[in-house]
Subunit: 263 residues, 3 copies
Amino acid sequence: MNFHLPFLPFRPAKPRNKGLTMMMDKGLSIRQVEDFISVSAEYTDLVKMGFGTSLLSNNLKEKIKLYQAANLKVYLGGTLFEAFLVRGMLDKYIELVNGLGLDTVEVSDGCIVIGHNKKCDLISQLASQFTVLSEVGSKEAGIIIHPTRWKNMMEAELSAGSWKVIAEARESGNVGIYRPNGTAHVSLVNKILDKIPQDSILWEAPQKSQQVWFIKQLGANVNLGNIGYEEVIPLETLRQGVRGDTFFTFLPDEVKANFAQQS
Amino acid sequence: MNFHLPFLPFRPAKPRNKGLTMMMDKGLSIRQVEDFISVSAEYTDLVKMGFGTSLLSNNLKEKIKLYQAANLKVYLGGTLFEAFLVRGMLDKYIELVNGLGLDTVEVSDGCIVIGHNKKCDLISQLASQFTVLSEVGSKEAGIIIHPTRWKNMMEAELSAGSWKVIAEARESGNVGIYRPNGTAHVSLVNKILDKIPQDSILWEAPQKSQQVWFIKQLGANVNLGNIGYEEVIPLETLRQGVRGDTFFTFLPDEVKANFAQQS
Amino acid sequence: MNFHLPFLPFRPAKPRNKGLTMMMDKGLSIRQVEDFISVSAEYTDLVKMGFGTSLLSNNLKEKIKLYQAANLKVYLGGTLFEAFLVRGMLDKYIELVNGLGLDTVEVSDGCIVIGHNKKCDLISQLASQFTVLSEVGSKEAGIIIHPTRWKNMMEAELSAGSWKVIAEARESGNVGIYRPNGTAHVSLVNKILDKIPQDSILWEAPQKSQQVWFIKQLGANVNLGNIGYEEVIPLETLRQGVRGDTFFTFLPDEVKANFAQQS
């Protein structure tokens, strides 16, 4: 940090188990990756090569090496996992992940329906070789999954071997835990947290208003994902309370008392 | 491609006559152009120097050379053509285009009213020297052009020598073929396609939902334009069915049968 | 400029006192700053290191030097000023600004309530050492400040030593002088201009529709701020009338008469 400012919320050092930020790479060039790393590696934990971009990127291996050298955990987006699975090519997928030198995979069922027992079996199988992130929720707008079902699925997937479960929002942030207009299903989130430890969940939160909402509800060290490569620093200012939206969130009462809050 | 995935839709190799992607440059730096080329040249056919940015760019000639060396067809945005025309300076415009070493021009009437016979004369005149893209539609929100008029204009402009006709949406994607909220005028598009060959039309589709709609309606090889420089790879994943929105669009029935579709 | 186009609006050369463009840096890398400067320095006057990003940027001093070498006036966002003030650390803030070699500061009360006499005292104190920009307006959506109060505050702050007063819109452009949907409070703006000289106000206008509105109302040389780093060139095309939205705004009648306007 460039200077000392007291009363900032605690942020654990990397590698950390909470307060994670996952950035989505949608096809960055080598130089953009270098630029990203130069300013944001310290504030980023995970990099997802978004949806099927890994198929098309002509610089995939080189990018993965750059990210890994900066201590960022890289994995391929869940849509690509499903694209292999629907074609009956899980073995080829594992071969690809190993060939790319990755240690993390995402198991999702956002496009195809996988029976939940089968999904948990896939998680168990992959967890023997890889760190597994598994995603819960629908990619379709307006689909409601009952809170009890969210909880049961998350619990079963964590038991099956998932390191974290991802609460789906898609890149655009208007499905799964969000309404079509992008606001969070508050009671759904609260009910999930009745049963599932917060640190085990990574919330997709591509929109700033969603990031603000989660930080205010769950603190500076909530796990957030699907963050654009130029939005990691702005998100970190939200986490640390040095942006308007969370300016008062982490201040102790004796500091708050110095000035009234603009309302 | 980084690996083989069966059942992807056919995409013709460059130079191609359909499945074109046009990227809009709104003032990129030399390094940004190099970065763009390094990852997206393979998936891009046309580069438009957007609206009047060519007037202001201090790197215009160098950028054009870089794009052309990567086999990208470069042209100046239609607004600049109109800015010369309204000032009675068509000759100066042709001089400029030649001086920049360009072989393609856009003829549009999005700002000024040009009688349609005169517009076709301009197309004919320019088509003797250049590849001509001509644009149909209004830049103003809420203006409805009757479908018969769209068809007649497009047909006349193609007869006059246009290589492709562009269906206007502006950079923001909320005029012309789209409603102010960005959704497509479905019946208008269908009526146009009753008469005009699909490969002769380039649809401006800056928003992802618009790209998805056209790909689902007209296939992987629909011509799409006004794509942001960081959105060409994401668009290509839509064209190739490796993104949630078009995951099932190109799969044959025997593969679809393996798993039900999330709905 | 790459070619001569007559009837463009006059734009004063840098350093200028009106027609200012302020760009907001939200965490750019060194190379992105170099790229920005290479294409946009000529059209940019001020750079704000947005909200609390200065705390987190690991390249802050180097970026400031690059900007200053390109004759751009750099300052730290108002939220950071308030973060020091609320902690009773104004002296440390001045030390920081001096240590970074900056000659400009922003005084704002977007997060905390500062009595207006005290705010003017702060402006006076800082104006003895620095160029001061002071911000008027609320960061909260839906808060209405009476036009008379806007005018009185702006007048008092200019008297206290502010070089310019900034009319608040936040990064998202939906508070202060704008309604929650982003459209301008027209009568508020007009009432402010009854009393305050236009050149003394810098309007935050992050959205294109807001930029268009101000340019059409107040001319090519209105002061505009909170512009994204890739939006300075597009904004300059609006100012110079070479983009659809302002195509006719600056044309003299004899040129307008050549062609009817698309409506």
